[in-house]
Each structure stands twice: as C-alpha cells, then as structure tokens.
Symmetry: D3
Subunit: 70 residues, 6 copies
C-alpha cells in the first residue's frame, strides 16, 4: 500500500489525550529524539483502536509542512 | 520564538525543485534516516532564500498528521 | 489497514495533469455523480505510479472539510 | 457563488457532536453510501445554526485530499 | 450564505501567477496593509474566472492558522 | 526569522477558550476590523503561554486560503 504523501515515518503511540470531540495522540519516533503528536476525532482514534505501544505509520503531505529559517 | 505546533524538527535543505508557482524543498533530517519534503510557493522559497545546506526549522501542526495502523 | 480520518471513499483515476512540481489527479467516484480532484507532488504521483483506470482510496481528515450553508 | 475548490458535494447534517471547543458534524451524502464528517469550532457550528436535516454544501480543496493505492 | 470558518475577510485580486497545475492569486486586503495570497488549482481559478480587480471573500479555517510568539 | 508562508500579520490575543484537547485563541487584528481565530492543541497554547494582550504573529500558508466569488 502506497500513500500520496512525501513524509512518512513509523512511530509508537505513547499516550492518548481524549477530549469531547478530538483526541491528541502523542507519538515516540523511532529515529528521532523529538516526540510528535497527531490530532484526530475521538471517533477515528477509536476506529483505529489506538493504545500505548501501538506501531503506527505517520503520514504528512508536503504542503502541510512549514519551513522557518533564522 | 515559540510556535503553536506540536511537531518541530531541525533539518537541512538538500534540493529545491522549482515549478511555475510552487517549489518543493527536499530535506535531510538530522535524527532520522528518512528524508522529508515541504511544498511552498516559489515566492516564499525565494523570500527564505533557501539553498542546499541551509538549516531550517520544520513545523507541522498536529492536526495535519494522519496516522495509519496495519 | 485503517486510517485516522473520517472521510474515505474509493475512486478511479481519470486523468493526470502534470506541472513542474505538482500533479492534479482527477478522479471519478463510484457512488457519486460529481468528480473529485487531489493535488500532490509529481514525485508522489510517480511513486504511486498513478494512471487512468487505477483504483485508489481517497482519504480526507474531517478538519479539512468546510461546510457552507445557504 | 463559486468556490475555489475542486471538491464540492451537497450533504445532509445527521448529527452534531459538541466538545468544549470543537464540534463534529456528521453528514449523510446524497449520492454516496458512505457518511462524511466535518470538524469545525463550536462557534462556527453555532454561527451556521446547524441542526440535523440541514442541507449543506461540502467544500474540500484538492490539496487536502490524500490518495492511497494498494 | 454562511461559512463554517472563523476567518473571513473581503479582498481584491491584484495578480494571478499561473503555473502548469497551480495558480497563485495575490490579494490586496481592504482593511490591512499587508497583501495576502491564495494558491488553488489553475482549474479552480478559471472556474472562478478570477482577474485583477475582482472582489473575493477570503475564508480560512481556524485550524489552519499558526500562531508564533516571540 | 523568516517563514515559508505568504500570509503573515501581527495580532493581539483577546480570549482563550479551552476544551479538553483543543484551544481556540481569539485574536484582534491591528489593521483589520474583523477578528480572527486560531485553533491549536491546549498543550501548544500552554507552551506559548498565551494570555489576553499577548502580541502574536499569525502565519497561514497560501494553500490553506479558500477564495469565494459571488
């Protein structure tokens, strides 16, 4: 299965923060020191049955990536 | 300076692919094996005066991150 | 494989319009009369090896969906 | 009135799920079997005065559409 | 007609920069000194029949707005 | 510090509406009559230590700007 997006890494779910509608999924990345986060609907998080320790693919379209230069 | 976004890494510009309106900036990440890409207007890329070797901050809001689970 | 996104349909690639950096992929949807379009980098389109007639899964996070009411 | 977006369908509001800040609007689509969802601020949902049965126009820019191929 | 988005202004089209697939629409804002830009597919720009001097409504969902603090 | 985005204004934080996961930041713009809003994770809002009266830079990539024409 291939995704039409330039940015893809594998990560591990570390924590889920659930709100009334949205859910923040905190990720530990394998190859990077910095953590990452995804926000999706609570409904999507439950569909994926996400829980700490799960391995997930992280997909970001290049157009959503902002560059900042000092 | 602080950014209201959960995902931030530092990367090095490796290559710029210029089109008529848009510009793809290919990045090598310090802490990860996989490359990344950003797409912005050519005008923005020129404003940033991006060239291979430049160090940039990569910023992605959590809402733009899609998770996929096998 | 499951996606953390509320909107998913299956569609058929009808036409690819290639620019210098970006590529517009025009889709015919199975269950809807209206066509759809996706824009990605040319590089992603080539990675997916997209060509007319291909069946693809169309994924859109709910946060990117704008509602308009008369 | 015309929208600068490649993807537009008409749908019916089926349910609103309200959180503290965001609101998920579940949609039934006329021409498709699958349901759709939009997430917006609660404030926007109230401005639109959305309620089940309302007809809305669903607008998505092509750049937000991710394609996945098996 | 009401839009499910927190950010809406009126602006005037100043210039169109056309690429192979995308089109950058440069805007002059009525109430602000700074110019703005929108990028859409060339096809959308032609559907809107955009030309310098046109009055357009500029719509941005709050989730797409990044805040930066010194 | 330069941002790879076509739309940048300065604004003042007027109000924060906190939910379980997300936070809406209402902004008063200097040069425009209309208010603006950003939505980010509560965690990001706390990282920025946002409070009413703070001056922030508002950054929006051109691709996230939708134009509508009557």
């Amino acid at each position: 299965m291939k995704f039409g997006a330039r940015n893809q890494v594998t990560a591990t779910v570390e924590e889920l923060v659930e709100g009334g509608v949205m859910c923040q999924v905190k990720l530990g990345q394998v190859d990077a020191s910095a953590g990452m986060s995804s926000v999706m609907t609570l409904e999507s998080a439950r569909d994926l049955d996400l829980k700490p320790g799960d391995r997930v693919r992280v997909v970001v379209k290049a157009i959503h990536v902002l560059l900042v230069k000092d």
